[in-house]
């Protein structure tokens, strides 16, 4: 029983034509997933934190804690 001639040309090209578009698509999906799963929530968390941030109050808290060199805590 003799073997039939298999395909012997362009095998890598065929494989790439199949796998590269999938690879590109999956990379884009991974990037999108990271963007919307990690970076956007992170940015939103910062935005939410600073939306209600009272700079003066926090400054005075820090001043009283004595972490500044340029201003001393009040009453000293």
């Amino acid at each position: 029983m003799s073997l039939a001639k298999p395909a012997m040309r362009g095998l890598l090209g065929k494989r790439l034509r199949f796998h590269l578009p999938i690879a590109f698509a999956l990379s884009l999906v991974a990037a999108a997933a990271f963007k919307y799963g990690v970076t956007e929530p992170r940015k939103q968390a910062y935005a939410d934190f600073y939306k209600q941030y009272d700079t003066t109050k926090e400054f005075n808290n820090m001043r009283e804690a004595g972490v500044f060199e340029s201003v001393r805590p009040t009453g000293k």
Binding site: S2, A4, P6, R9, G10, L11, L12, G13, K14
Partner: protein, 130 residues
């Protein structure tokens, strides 16, 4: 498959007028094979040319046809290079990659030549196991 080796991304082959770029004439598979059979058939081929030819051939996106390999094995015979002859068999097996049906077919086609020239396959020598 008839795509030429130099234009991997064009399949099936389109006529020259429909191609997007180079106006170079494209070689047919038969012309390619004939060119390589002729290359290895040079009566006074030297060791360098054999090695260079094989390395170039292995660089292409194809497994060489039995007739090209036959010509290369006979060149090994002229150069008294049994090691290269066996290496050629190992190379085409590796070149087939995941397509396990190619190597048995090649050995089938080359068997008369292997017997005539007294070339053992890597399998005969137990060299196919890592």
């Amino acid at each position: 498959m008839q795509a030429s080796t130099e234009t991997v991304f064009l399949y099936p082959p389109t006529p020259l007028s429909a191609r997007c770029y180079s106006h170079a004439k494209v070689e047919t598979d038969e012309e390619f094979d004939a060119r390589w059979v002729t290359y290895f058939s040079k009566p006074d081929i030297d060791a360098w040319e054999l090695k260079k030819g094989m390395n170039t051939l292995i660089g292409y996106d194809l497994v060489p046809e039995p007739k090209i390999l036959d010509s290369a094995l006979r060149a090994c015979r002229r150069l008294n290079d049994l090691a290269s002859a066996i290496r050629i068999l190992e190379a085409v097996k590796d070149k087939s990659g995941p397509h396990k049906d190619i190597y048995p077919y090649l050995i089938q086609e080359l068997q008369p030549t292997l017997t005539e020239l007294g070339i053992s396959t890597p399998e005969d020598l137990g060299m196919d196991i890592l």
